[in-house]
């Protein structure tokens, strides 16, 4: 039967080619969409992880509420405040940072960690000024726990440890303020103190919301600026295996008062977007493949209708219903199989081409993003191929089944015998 199925396909080169192309476009569309969407996403997530740390340990902001202080001032009494106490008791910081350091040192999952003190401040130079988030770091630890060194475009991150009030700022901020390396700029603290500091280098993460706002300085200076000597507001942790982030974070959270977030929890909103992207990707591919399956269905249905007489003679020769199903179903499978293969080839070529497209300047793209990004995964290929093959199977089944149910006698009578 495969022999005849093959001959029947060859006898209609145009229809066969059309059906093959339809399937191929479907498979290729899936491959290209997946490659582009996930290519971008992977780089995006990589950057997210590198800048956001695998796990962050932050102080829980404790606020004072109406009855928070009752016990301290009037133990045992029922209190009615005329003016209830309100506010934070002190700037958020980790109660016992050294305890965390000891714990992290002992934990096998931890690759490196870096304590940070975050303070709000202004940078000003001449008449220009900007608010920044000043992150106090121990440069040696920060370099181990994050990818910050690879984002450096000018200078070395570890220069921060060389002493003196040095600062590393984003390249885009430097441009806006007109700064060069080793220039001096003023940091104005929230309390109004002005501290001159030297620009040790620039970094560029590719994300404006970071490059414009975040600056790094040695931690003891930031503690000074903030008038919170010795305090740590958060610890950035790098794990040996990032996939454990959520589990380890949950474990730690269970035995501490601090707010512990894994990188994916911290960026949950992105993952919602990713889910929607995935849905769009699958829906689009499904639509294309449905059209392809429809083409196969129409082609095969037409063949079955044209070949009623031949079906009758095949039955009279002793070919049974199963043979007839095989005859037409194998054509659908053949179209699905080779259409799928063709689509994989086509998709690969288009992906290779897309990958070679260069962005030309002014698009605000960061390092490593100067061309379109394509993800290459075996499972894209397997999924694309299976989808194509399945659509051939589904589209071929109904015509084949109809043909097998045709009774030779009914055909012979209706053909005017």
């Amino acid at each position: 039967m495969f022999f005849l199925a093959f001959k029947q396909l060859l006898a209609r080169p145009l229809q066969t080619l059309l059906a093959l192309l339809a399937i191929a476009f479907g498979a290729a569309a899936f491959l290209i969409l997946s490659g582009m969407m996930l290519g971008f996403r992977e780089v995006f997530i990589q950057r997210l992880i590198n800048t956001a740390a695998h796990i962050s340990i932050k102080a829980e902001e404790s606020t004072i509420e109406e009855h928070s202080l009752d016990g301290s001032f009037f133990p045992g009494d029922l209190v009615k405040w005329i003016v209830p106490p309100v506010s934070h008791d002190e700037p958020p910081h980790l109660e016992y940072a050294q305890g965390w350091f000891d714990r992290l040192d002992a934990d096998d999952n931890v690759e490196a960690y870096a304590p940070q003190m975050v303070a709000q401040a202004l940078v000003s130079r001449g008449k220009l000024s900007r608010t920044i988030s000043l992150i106090g770091v121990e440069a040696a630890k920060q370099v181990k726990a994050t990818d910050v060194q690879s984002d450096m475009t000018v200078g070395n991150f570890s220069d921060l440890d060389k002493g003196g009030f040095q600062i590393i700022i984003g390249e885009s901020l430097a441009q806006k303020l007109g700064l060069h390396q080793n220039d001096t700029l003023d940091i104005v603290t929230v309390k109004g103190n002005i501290l001159p500091s030297k620009v040790a280098g620039f970094f560029n993460t590719g994300m404006d919301q970071i490059d414009d706002v975040v600056s790094y300085a040695p931690i003891h200076y930031v503690q000074q600026v903030n008038q919170t000597p010795g305090q740590v507001s958060q610890i950035i942790v790098k794990l040996k295996d990032i996939t454990l982030a959520k589990r380890v974070a949950d474990q730690w959270a269970a035995m501490s008062r601090e707010k512990i977030q894994s990188w994916d929890e911290a960026n949950a909103n992105f993952f919602t977007v990713f889910k929607m992207q995935d849905m769009i990707r699958y829906i689009l591919s499904a639509v294309v493949l449905m059209i392809a399956a429809f083409v196969i269905f129409i082609v095969l249905n037409m063949i079955v209708m044209q070949k009623r007489g031949e079906i009758a003679i095949l039955r009279s020769m002793g070919y049974d219903a199963g043979d007839i199903i095989q005859l037409f179903l194998s054509q659908g499978l053949f179209l699905g199989f080779f259409g799928g293969l063709l689509g994989l080839g086509l998709g690969t070529l288009v992906c290779l081409y897309i990958q070679s497209i260069k962005f030309t300047g002014g698009m605000g793209m960061a390092r490593g993003m100067d061309h379109m990004l394509i993800a290459w995964h075996a499972y894209f290929y397997i999924t694309a191929f299976l989808l194509a093959f399945l659509s051939g199977l589904v589209a071929g089944f109904w015509p084949a089944y109809t043909a097998s149910r045709m009774h030779p006698i009914d055909i012979l009578r209706s053909e005017g015998g």
């Binding site: 039967m1 022999f3 005849l4 001959k7 029947q8 060859l10 006898a11 007489g309 031949e310 009758a312 003679i313 095949l314 039955r315 009279s316 020769m317 002793g318 070919y319 049974d320 043979d323 030779p408 006698i409 012979l412 053909e415 005017g416 015998g417």
Partner: protein, 225 residues
């Protein structure tokens, strides 16, 4: 005995419309039988019932001493493949295949097409169509097509050949060739032939004629030699 029909009845629909009314007859091995009658007399229905394509409503049918009503679906198809050949009014050649591939197609069912190839070519030579064996059916004449169809019916060396108006679509020269091939096959290969026809000239060439009228046997006569 080649073919035994015992009180066979064939009806259609509900309420049943009886087309074949309790027919009984025997056909010996190697007979050439023409089934005649007006249109609507039930002659085609009789042929399809005797050839197992159309199941009986009641009665028994023995082919080659086997009760074909008791065969499983698979065995019935195999029986048809090996023991029966069919020729219809229309040739029903597969247009994608060459003539010799068409002739050999029944043999593909049991994967014997290579083994029977030389026999197929010999058959085609016998039927004077050897020169067109590698042509497609669209490239040959109507008479040639019908002879290819007969070669296809004969390639498995069947015991029975069932023909439904085999000359109905042909000019008289081609029709004459078809009938003489039937005579030759019947004579040389001892194939039992059942042929439905309404052309009296051709019917009289058969060794035996069974005439049907309104689902009953009107006459059943053998040619006197």
């Amino acid at each position: 005995m080649g073919l035994v029909a015992k009180s066979i009845v064939k009806s259609f629909g509900d309420p049943p419309f009886v087309v074949l009314k309790n027919l009984s007859f025997d056909i010996a091995d190697g007979e050439f039988v023409a089934i005649t009658g007006r249109s609507g007399s039930g002659k085609s229905t009789l042929l399809y019932s005797l050839s197992t394509l159309d199941p009986l409503s009641s009665g028994d049918l023995l082919l080659d001493n086997k009760d074909v009503g008791g065969l499983s679906n698979k065995d019935l198809h195999l029986f048809r493949n090996e023991k029966m050949g069919f020729v219809f009014q229309f040739h029903y050649l597969l247009p994608e295949l060459t003539c010799v591939e068409n002739v050999l197609f029944p043999a593909r069912k049991t994967n014997r097409h290579e083994e029977l190839r030389s026999y197929a070519v010999q058959l085609m030579d016998d039927f004077e169509i050897g020169q067109i064996q590698n042509k497609l059916s669209g490239q040959i004449s109507g008479g040639e097509r019908q002879r290819v169809a007969i070669a296809r019916a004969m390639v498995m060396k069947p015991r029975y050949l069932f023909a439904d108006e085999p000359t109905g679509n042909l000019d008289s020269v081609s029709g004459e060739k078809v009938i003489s091939i039937f005579e030759k096959v019947n004579r040389e290969l001892k194939t039992t032939i059942l042929m439905v026809t309404h052309e009296q000239d051709y019917a009289s060439r058969a060794g035996r004629q069974i005439g049907l009228k309104d689902g009953n046997i009107e006459f059943d006569r053998k040619k006197k030699n």
